[in-house]
């Protein structure tokens, strides 16, 4: 029987030629990730293992992004625990203030994950790297500890949902709108324990930033992972974001075409689902029919089109543009396209957070930061801060925020009577201008 793309990657990491859904396996891990919230617990647990040290100092990545720059003394202590551990264990990829960015934007950018990899991270949004054709999933701190110590972890081989994309999205429709639409359709447990495997001619219409946003929110449908096939867009991305290690393998002078040709050979592996792979469910989505989408409180599945939302006159107190879902350069460009020459509404706070130092710098060079500041928005150093109600934009009782982040649960961004509405950067920026949920079309 045929295997899905996810099953093939898992099989390759167990040394077995065939796996079927439901099997319990132990697989070799290519990369283990943790942040400043989940790592301190993992460090404590890993030091309890007999191994007592990481299996490969180049395959563990620690990113200080959630409450860093330290929001308070307790957060500072946690970051210090990670810093000292990284030093003690000679962790090569430790990203602290000045080098850090939001982990799921940083890792693809640094080329630390390539097609065919098996990645686990103690952060639920680790699912993001499926955009690169990798199998990538979130785990807890104890799993992270076990993976750090042994380089292996147990998995139940997942079933899959096949999502075939066709057509071309219209202006203002992004990867975020696609994933909010899908979650609205299948629900917050619609892909529970399953892979969400994307395919079809519509895939080529989605940029790498779109695909990263789509896979990022697979967890919001309960998915174990989201994954895209590897195509020329993936190869271009890998060539432009080569890790130091792979750069050394291919040589400083390797051209872009040479790097692209090396993907699947010396860099990563390219997997395709078998034609006779079995799927739990098959969906077909015509991208040309999608509309900019907003998810209402308090579940990401409460999706409505922005036109419907606009009619309800939802007044906003805050807009956040950033996060591991939508803090990439194309998100910054989309926000700037709307905010250019316009002003943020009176009595509304607009907080924009480029996800990494490189994105921040690029946005600065392109003049985007100037557009944001002239519009009356603030621009923050990279941090997960407001998305999880950590800091840098906490909501008071009854306040409403339109946000490009990924969760709108009760109390997610602050007080328990506050409300979070999820959308892509175009819609978020349009809301910042009018002070209400507004279609970008209405501004033109």
């Amino acid at each position: 029987m045929g295997m899905t793309m996810s099953q093939k990657i898992l099989a390759a990491h167990t040394g077995q030629s065939e796996l079927s859904a439901g099997e319990l396996i132990e697989a070799d891990i290519d990369l283990v990730l943790g942040n400043d919230i989940t790592s301190p617990v993992a460090i404590r647990e890993m030091e309890r293992t007999k191994a007592g040290q990481v299996y490969d100092r180049e395959k563990v990545v620690l990113v200080m992004d959630h409450f860093v720059p330290n929001k308070d003394i307790k957060s500072a202590e946690n970051a210090k625990t990670c810093r000292e551990f990284a030093c003690r264990q000679c962790i090569k990829h430790f990203y602290d203030v000045g080098k850090m960015g939001i982990e799921h934007a940083l890792i693809p950018e640094k080329g630390l994950c390539v097609p065919g990899d098996l990645v686990v991270g103690a952060d639920s949004h680790t699912v993001t790297y499926g955009a690169l054709g990798a199998f990538s999933t979130g785990v807890g701190s104890t799993d992270m500890a076990a993976a750090m110590a042994t380089g292996k972890l147990w998995f139940k081989v997942p079933r899959a949902i096949k999502i075939e994309l066709k057509g071309k999205p219209s202006k203002y429709v992004t990867g975020k709108d696609l994933i909010l639409y899908i979650i609205g359709m299948i629900g917050v447990d619609g892909a529970l324990y399953e892979s969400m495997e994307f395919c079809g001619e519509g895939v080529k219409e989605l940029s790498m930033d779109d695909r990263l946003a789509v896979c990022n929110m697979a967890i919001e449908a309960g998915g174990k992972n989201g994954i895209f096939p590897v195509d020329d867009i993936t190869l271009e991305y890998v060539a432009e974001h080569l890790s130091e290690k792979n750069r050394a393998v291919l040589g400083e002078k390797a051209s872009k075409e040479e790097i692209k040709a090396a993907v699947g050979k010396t860099i990563g592996r390219i997997y395709e689902a078998d034609e006779d792979a079995e799927y739990e469910k098959e969906l077909v989505i015509d991208l040309s029919e999608l509309k900019p989408t907003v998810s209402f409180p308090h579940l990401p599945s409460n999706a409505r089109t922005v036109e419907e939302a606009e009619k309800l006159g939802v007044k906003l107190d805050q807009v956040v543009i950033g996060s591991c879902t939508n803090g990439r350069i194309s998100d910054m460009r989309q926000a700037a396209e709307i905010l250019r020459g316009r002003k943020v509404a009176e009595n509304l706070r607009c907080i924009i957070i480029p996800a990494t130092q490189d994105i921040y710098l690029q946005a600065m060079r392109e003049g985007l930061l100037e557009i944001f500041i002239e519009a009356g928005a603030i621009v923050s150093t990279p941090t997960c801060g407001p998305c999880l109600g950590g800091y840098m934009g906490i909501l008071a009782d009854g306040e409403r925020c339109l946000s490009t982040t990924n969760r709108n649960f009760v109390g997610r961004m602050g007080a328990k009577t506050s409300e979070v509405y999820l959308a892509g950067p175009y819609v978020a920026a349009a809301g910042a201008v009018t002070g209400y949920i507004t279609s970008p079309e209405s501004l033109v």
């Binding site: 319990l24 989940t38 104890t142 500890a145 076990a146 529970l192 967890i219 950590g390």
Partner: protein
């Protein structure tokens, strides 16, 4: 292994932000952390919960973040078992890894009411609602997971293997 206690019942999609809001994730002291368990949904939870109590909930329990603090605060609050129609994937792993007993059983989760006295036998998968005088049967865990649970969690399990 068995658990017995009074039921505290919740609905569907109890997310990890409800179980333990992120604003407390900088707290490393487990007792202090547990005092905030469920507070945005059920402000009295930490006062009313008694050692041995059982949480019964609907589908997708523990959805959202990967924070292991979620099953940890439930365990540290004295909850002896969580019965749900279904669990979110990462919460399921985390609960087993840290040794919080969980049971997936839609029939039991639907029928059992708040305040009922229940008894769970983890070896047979039997859930008995003493108040209703009704029994339910959950699928027992596969042997591999049962071994991990018996070892007292993932770290103890791998320490046996290394």
């Amino acid at each position: 292994m068995q658990a017995k206690g009074k039921v505290i019942k919740y609905g569907d999609n109890i997310d990890t932000d409800i179980i333990i809001p992120a604003r407390y994730l900088n707290i490393m002291d487990r007792r202090e952390l547990a005092s905030h368990c469920m507070e945005d949904l059920d402000a009295d939870f930490s006062k009313k919960v008694e050692s041995g109590d059982v949480i019964v909930a609907g589908s997708n329990f523990g959805c959202g973040s990967s924070r292991e603090h979620a099953p940890q605060v439930i365990k540290d609050s004295g909850i002896s078992c969580v019965i749900a129609e279904s669990f979110a994937r990462i919460f399921f792993r985390n609960a087993i890894n840290i040794g919080l007993p969980i049971v997936e059983c839609p029939e039991a989760a639907k029928a059992i009411a708040c305040g009922d006295e229940v008894e769970i036998n983890f070896d047979t998968g039997e859930i008995k609602d003493i108040t209703l005088n009704k029994s339910f049967r959950a699928q027992p865990f596969p042997e591999f997971l049962q071994n991990m649970i018996n070892a007292g969690g993932l770290i103890n399990y791998i320490n046996k293997e290394i």
